[in-house]
């Protein structure tokens, strides 16, 4: 997983590449580099290192040229280092390539090319590409790229720059790539935020496309014949990709959640025609539903299981997409939903392809218009979260839940009276979430306390069990505290051995049919001397006597409690990480969208 950005036009490429690269750091940031084609003299000048973009911008000398390519890396093949950073060049240093993806057969290609006299300097899979292009080049760069890619097995989004060729050649297979259309200038990038400063007109490349981009022309070919691709207008503004007063994107994004819910509500409740009618899915004889996702989206899927089972009364199976490849027998008569924020999660995409082969109808829930998931699924429902920059997912989780509520509620044949009270509950939800945000000073106090510990358990039951998992994930990924989410009843099957005064337990206490037994679980934990922080509804007096600390959240319909509880836990994780001085938006070893399996 890496970020690519490229420019060709009348302006100097270097400053544009560097500022655009900094917007792609959420895709990876262990090293970065740029290459610019100068003329005259006709040559490629490259500069790269294992540093963040900001540091590179200070180090790099001025490279003159109006066409260039840039890359920010998240290491998959070869450790983060200067030689392994992109761009990679051929032997003569005339061809520079940036790449996102994995070349599976690179070992064999490398041996072959070495035996033919090519000289490799890095440990990366990517380096075979410039050498292959060099091998096949006989005056036509485009043809050479096509020929080179015929030898390559794996996934890639690549962009090629060659000295003396006033164009960029791009190719895409299983990794995202877009072209941005400017005025006498064009851009290529992995993702839209990279180029939003310059243009909002975008073309999404399809699988197998090869694009040839000059400053005033874009030509896209597939299997040798020219094809046309629709232009999209991006409606979010660059402002949405900036911090707007906040210290971190994560806090800004946590605070955007009331607005996300309100926007989503308007969007979905007003549309006359349902995108997907789950009730119809049921009527068509589909007896069960399968939801696939990874990471935070997987926890949203687990909440979705409770929502759909409660409202539609059909069994729902939730699977981790990265495991689904190894088992997961599925019938065609299963309604399948996949959830992926980026729409590019490699494991999820692979699972979708498999489901389609079996004959399942696949609905994708994603935040990115035109993403790979939206193109391979039968239907796509977009979450209205806007771009999420923080590596830790927050508002996209809430937006995913909103879609799941809407799917299950709007078109289910549930009791009309139940639906009316639920709709009222949904309308209240933005204010309830705002209430959690308004009380963050109290959460900050608990975070100070929590930040001193190295091990934490989160427990929940019923619809709030996935919330415990999500709370633990948020805490561990940004504060580096070892945190585990557990179903409250499972603690006694092992983890009790780890409890004690140095292991706080955070209990999510919902006012539903799990309440009484949850209190029993809390007593069990207290008997093992663990400090206990309860996340409880306002007005719950019994909990105050059992727990050491109580974080109160507003009272909502039990079905919506995951939303308010998760927001409270997001804040807890954020302030704990801040207290510990962690780099919150870019936690170590993590990247925003996982485009490798």
């Amino acid at each position: 997983m890496c970020g690519i950005v490229d420019y060709i036009g009348d302006k100097q490429a270097q400053p544009i590449l560097l500022s655009s690269l900094s917007r792609l750091e959420y895709r990876g940031y262990d090293s970065c580099g740029i290459a610019v084609s100068s003329s005259p003299p006709r040559r490629i000048e490259a500069y790269k290192d294992a540093v963040r973009v900001e540091a590179l911008a200070k180090m790099v000398p001025q490279l003159g040229g109006t066409a260039g390519i840039g890359h920010t890396r998240w290491a998959t093949c070869g450790e983060p280092s200067q030689v392994n950073a992109h761009p990679h060049c051929d032997c003569a240093g005339n061809i520079a390539v940036v790449h996102n993806g994995v070349i599976n057969n690179f070992q064999r290609l490398r041996q072959q090319l070495t035996s033919e006299g090519h000289n490799f300097v890095s440990e990366t899979d990517t380096e075979v590409i410039p050498h292959l292009i060099e091998k096949y080049y006989d005056g036509n760069l485009e043809k050479a790229v096509e020929a080179a890619l015929r030898d390559v097995e794996g996934s890639y989004a690549i962009v090629v720059l060659m000295a003396g060729e006033p164009k960029l050649v791009a190719a895409k297979k299983d990794s995202p790539l877009i072209i941005g259309i400017g005025d006498r200038e064009n851009f290529i990038a992995s993702d839209v935020p990279a180029i939003l400063d310059y243009t909002n007109r975008v073309i999404y490349l399809e699988e197998g496309d090869i694009g040839v981009v000059t400053k005033d022309n874009i030509k896209i070919k597939r299997d040798g014949t020219e094809v046309s691709r629709k232009e999209h207008k991006i409606l979010w503004s660059i402002e949405e990709a900036q911090k707007g007063g906040y210290e971190h994107f994560m806090l800004k994004e946590i605070h955007e959640q009331p607005k996300v819910i309100r926007d989503t509500l308007g969007e979905y409740t007003s549309s006359a025609e349902p995108v997907v009618d789950l009730a119809r899915i049921r009527d068509e004889g589909i007896e069960s539903m399968l939801i696939l996702a990874c990471g935070t989206s997987y926890y949203a899927a687990l909440v979705g299981k409770y929502i759909v089972e409660e409202l539609l009364r059909i069994p729902v199976r939730v699977e981790i997409a990265s495991e689904f490849s190894y088992y997961g027998q599925t019938l065609a008569r299963t309604g399948a939903i996949v959830i992926t924020q980026s729409g590019e999660t490699a494991d999820t995409l692979k699972a979708v392809k498999r489901l389609k082969e079996v004959g399942c109808r696949v609905v994708a829930i994603t935040n990115v218009v035109g993403s790979s998931a939206s193109r391979i699924a039968d239907q796509t429902i977009y979450t209205r979260a806007g771009p999420e920059i923080s590596v830790a997912a927050t508002k996209s989780f809430t937006a995913q839940l909103m879609v799941l509520y809407w799917l299950a509620m709007g078109y289910s044949k549930a009791d009309a009276r139940r639906l009316a009270t639920m709709l009222l509950g949904l309308r209240q939800l933005p204010s309830k979430v705002q209430q959690v945000l308004d009380n963050e000073a109290i959460i900050l106090e608990h975070a100070k306390y929590l930040s001193k510990y190295e091990n934490v358990f989160f427990i929940g039951r019923g619809i709030n069990f996935p919330v415990a998992l999500e709370g633990a994930l948020k805490l561990k990924e940004i504060s580096y505290i070892h945190a585990e989410g557990y179903a409250a009843g499972e603690l006694k099957h092992g983890p009790f051995a780890l409890l004690g005064e140095n292991t706080p337990v955070i209990a999510i206490v919902a006012q539903d049919n799990t309440y009484e037994v949850m209190l029993t679980n809390i007593k069990e934990v207290k008997a093992r001397k663990s400090p206990l922080i309860a996340l409880a509804e306002e007005g719950d007096e019994a909990i105050g006597e059992l727990a050491d600390f109580v974080i109160t959240v507003p009272r909502v319909d039990a079905l919506f409690s995951p939303v308010v509880n998760t927001v409270a836990l997001q804040l807890l994780a954020y302030y704990t990480a801040k207290e510990r001085g962690c780099p919150i938006d870019f936690p170590r070893n993590l990247a925003k969208s996982v485009t490798v399996e």
Binding site: I238, E239, G245, Y246, T269, P430, S431, K432
Partner: protein, 391 residues
């Protein structure tokens, strides 16, 4: 003049409960926070470089204003950690200012015309306005277009010309801010040292907000000038008269009768048979059930109003759930704020997130805190603190 500093850090204690979770500048008037009117007025006058001094509950400002792009301006945020007065607030912005700039209060409703001529004035200068009740403000003595002195909240006013809190300064001003905590003190000090400060009068809109019921008069003033815009779905049999604006995805159901000026936000569900009378603002995501009657009120976001309610001269903050037959009739009431008694004609002031059972009656002038819960058939009067339970 290319730059403006807006002072937006203040809390507005006398406006509680509405300012418990948001700063005064974020109080909503006719569907927009006061601060937005100030920012839009500046943008209309070509001032797009804006420094916002924020403090109390600043997240609310960040969440709404963002980078300013949406409003056609560039915003730089400066934090005043403790609210020690307007001069102290301005001093925080020193590093972000250059040459000449305007200074404006973010909590006064200022329209583009009000500052239209002032933006071209030579600093140091003050914008003044003639008002009816000058003793609430800083009364300014002017001689030949120059400020002579400023007397804050005098018992007896020598004139009815007051300081609007809108100034044009050069960076020179920072050398005069020492121990003084408020800008008028700094200016009096400058005058004493013989520094000239010119005065310009305006006849444009400049409205201050001090007490909760001031929200109603500001709302009335702004609504008179709204643009009509009908989004959403208006069912047959609905009567719309005068200036009425309806947001997108909103449904106005049959037989509702709406007399403008009225602003209704997005995604609301109103009616059937609901009567909305001037001058009323309704936020986003609001439900008003059949046979309810709302007059001269400000209803915020995410509110549900049950059937057959009467709501007059009232302010209801976001997230309230009000069951049927709630009555908040307007009449003259003696309302106490900070040990001062005020005789005003108002209905009820409801803080956010309140939950009211069926048939609750609010006496005129009641101020209900945030997140109060009231059981059915209760009579509310006086002032209820936040999170009160009325059983």
């Amino acid at each position: 003049m290319k730059q403006a500093v807006i002072l937006a850090a203040g809390e507005g204690q006398r406006l509680r409960p509405f300012t418990v979770t948001k700063p005064k500048v974020m109080l909503s008037i006719a569907g927009k926070p006061i601060l937005q009117y100030v920012v839009e007025s500046l943008a209309l006058n070509g001032i797009r470089n804006i420094v916002l001094v924020v403090g109390y509950r600043r997240e609310q400002v960040f969440d709404y204003m963002g980078s300013g792009e949406q409003f056609g301006v560039d915003i730089t945020y400066i934090t005043q950690e403790r609210q020690l007065g307007t001069a102290h607030a301005l001093a925080q912005a020193k590093a972000a200012t250059e040459n000449e700039f305007l200074v404006l209060p973010g909590d006064n409703l200022i329209e583009a015309d009000t500052i239209g001529q002032f933006v071209a004035i030579k600093p140091e200068a003050m914008l003044v306005k003639r008002v009816d009740n000058p003793t609430r403000y800083g009364v300014v003595t002017i001689d030949n277009g120059m400020v002579k002195d400023i007397v804050e909240k005098p018992r007896e006013a020598k004139s009815n010309v007051v300081n609007t809190g809108i100034y044009a300064f050069t960076t020179e001003i920072f050398s005069f801010i020492e121990a003084q905590l408020d800008i008028p003190d700094v200016l009096n000090n400058m005058l004493a040292q013989g520094e000239p400060i010119s005065a310009q009068k305006t006849d444009g809109t400049w409205l201050d907000i001090v007490y909760p019921w001031d929200i109603l008069s500001l709302n009335d003033a702004v609504l008179r000038q709204i643009q009509t815009n009908l989004g959403g779905t208006i069912e047959t049999g609905v009567s719309l008269k005068g200036l009425v604006s309806v947001g997108k995805d909103t449904v106005i159901r049959s037989n509702s009768y709406i007399v403008g000026p009225v602003v209704i936000g997005n995604n609301c569900d109103i009616g059937p048979n609901v009567c909305i009378l001037p001058a009323t603002s309704i936020g986003d995501n609001v439900v008003i059930s059949p046979f309810s009657n709302v007059k001269n009120s400000v209803i915020s976001d995410d509110i549900s109003i049950g059937p057959s309610c009467i709501i007059q001269d009232s302010v209801i903050d976001k997230g309230c759930v009000i069951k049927g037959h709630f009555t908040a009739c307007s009449d003259q009431a003696d309302v106490e704020v900070d040990d001062e008694h005020h005789l005003v004609n108002i209905g009820a002031m409801l803080g956010e997130g309140c939950s009211l059972g069926n048939n609750v009656v609010a006496q005129p002038g009641v101020i209900v805190g945030n997140h109060c819960q009231v059981q059915a058939l209760k009579l509310l009067s006086g002032r209820l603190p936040d999170k009160s339970l009325v059983f």
